[in-house]
Symmetry: none
DNA sequence: TTCAATTTTAATTATTTCTACATGATTGGA
DNA sequence: TCCAATCATGTAGAAATAATTAAAATTGAA
């Protein structure tokens, strides 16, 4: 499903937006600060941005401009005053839509859906298939071999990436260490099986909130590992 | 300039819209009847459609749906009542925007411009190769084969330029050295791989502030290189 | 042909990643 | 509860890969 980043300093509003968007099965991240928001926006790969105009740090105008320089996806600006809409338009920052507070959550959801649908219609139309796996905040882009956890990019080594991707592509299937070693290292290599253990741990350090209670790669005692879904 | 088709039965309104759009250098056609309007819309090569909801013959709902089946360009719906906007949205006809009568002509023009600008941005960006690539201070002009970094021109040799341009045109995609050698040298790679490394280094010396922390061409250990965006 | 610029090759150095191993923690059954 | 099997984790050295440098080969223009 699509991922959305909300940059909004009023937490109650952000949470409300998030709740409604999640009801429509969007994955939503929130950032309350302009500076941090920009970094998150540029580093994470989101399908849409919702920006408040008044923000601590970098304001919505600047944010919109900076994101648009790099990203092509829809940007929705949230303003307190209707007059500000004309200002944003006049500046030509590349925002796609404007919504004035207070707004009804269903209106927000409707607009988000419309923008994402249009974006897909225009950009993805030649059946550009994304090489992506996305599950519970974990996103794997096979083309660029990058991994994000809740919008934050994590750097993976080649083996780590291959192992995680293999498991994620075969969710819920239990693989023994021997099987994993054979598929990822090749039959010829006669190494130590514990290598697999070490790599699983490295991956867990990067993607798990609490490595002793893994959400993604589960240990099946005496059997092997599986990617839980 | 862009061509716009207005389908609107109230002649005075249609003419007003046309006048203002022409002031902004758009080419505008008007059709007052739904049936004829549909034919004209499908036959003609327009960049945008402005449809009134209430029309003799085929109404705006149907019109929008039928045009969208064939055309990808922006559609702006004009309604008399605000409540109708939700109805159109709900039907998922694929309209891009909605404006309620009465509206100010400048508002109309602003929206038309915004939609056309976005359409260009989305449709032209990935597929059609621009002659100029510009990203984070790096500017590449393919026509004159020149490169600037933060406004300062750097002299590139032919191979260096081709390699940089190829990577920059496929941002975030990782290419192995073998792939790069084959695409840029056009030969099967048999051991000449280090040539690629050397060229990447030469390019980095010219465009990177700190060659050990590359901002543009990133090394993916054990995999290859990618142009980061 | 000559000469300068460019490209390739080769050798060396630097860095990253992998693996083996040691130690300690956890699990599940006796 | 205890114990043996299994797993987690940290560390150091090995292996693999990339960066750098310099020198040789090639190209192309005068």
């Amino acid at each position: 499903m699509s991922r959305i980043l909300i940059i909004e300093d009023e937490e109650s509003i952000a949470e409300l937006e998030k709740d409604y968007l999640e009801l429509s099965n969007f994955e939503v991240d929130i950032e309350g600060d302009g500076e941090k928001g920009l970094n998150k926006a540029l580093a994470g790969n989101y399908d849409m941005y919702i920006l408040d105009l008044m923000l601590p740090g970098i304001d919505g105008f600047e944010l919109c401009k900076r994101i648009r320089e790099v990203k092509n996806v829809p940007i929705l600006m949230v303003t307190a005053k209707k007059e500000e809409i004309d200002k944003i338009r006049g500046l030509g920052l590349g925002a796609d839509d404007y919504i004035t507070k207070p707004f009804s959550p269903s209106e927000l959801v409707a607009r988000v859906k419309a923008h994402l649908a249009r974006y897909d219609r225009l950009v993805q139309s030649p059946a550009i298939q994304k090489d992506e796996i996305s599950i519970r905040g974990l996103r794997i882009d096979k083309a660029s071999r990058r991994v994000w956890i809740n919008g934050e990019e994590k750097v993976f080594t080649a083996k780590e990436f291959d192992l995680l991707t293999f498991l994620a592509e075969n969710p819920n299937v239990i693989f023994s260490k021997e099987q994993l070693f054979e598929t990822l290292w090749g039959e010829e290599s006669i190494g130590d099986i514990s290598t697999v253990t070490v790599h699983v741990n490295k991956i867990r350090e990067k993607i798990e909130l609490n490595t002793s209670k893994p959400q993604y790669i589960e240990t099946i005692w005496g059997v092997g590992y599986r990617f839980k879904v």
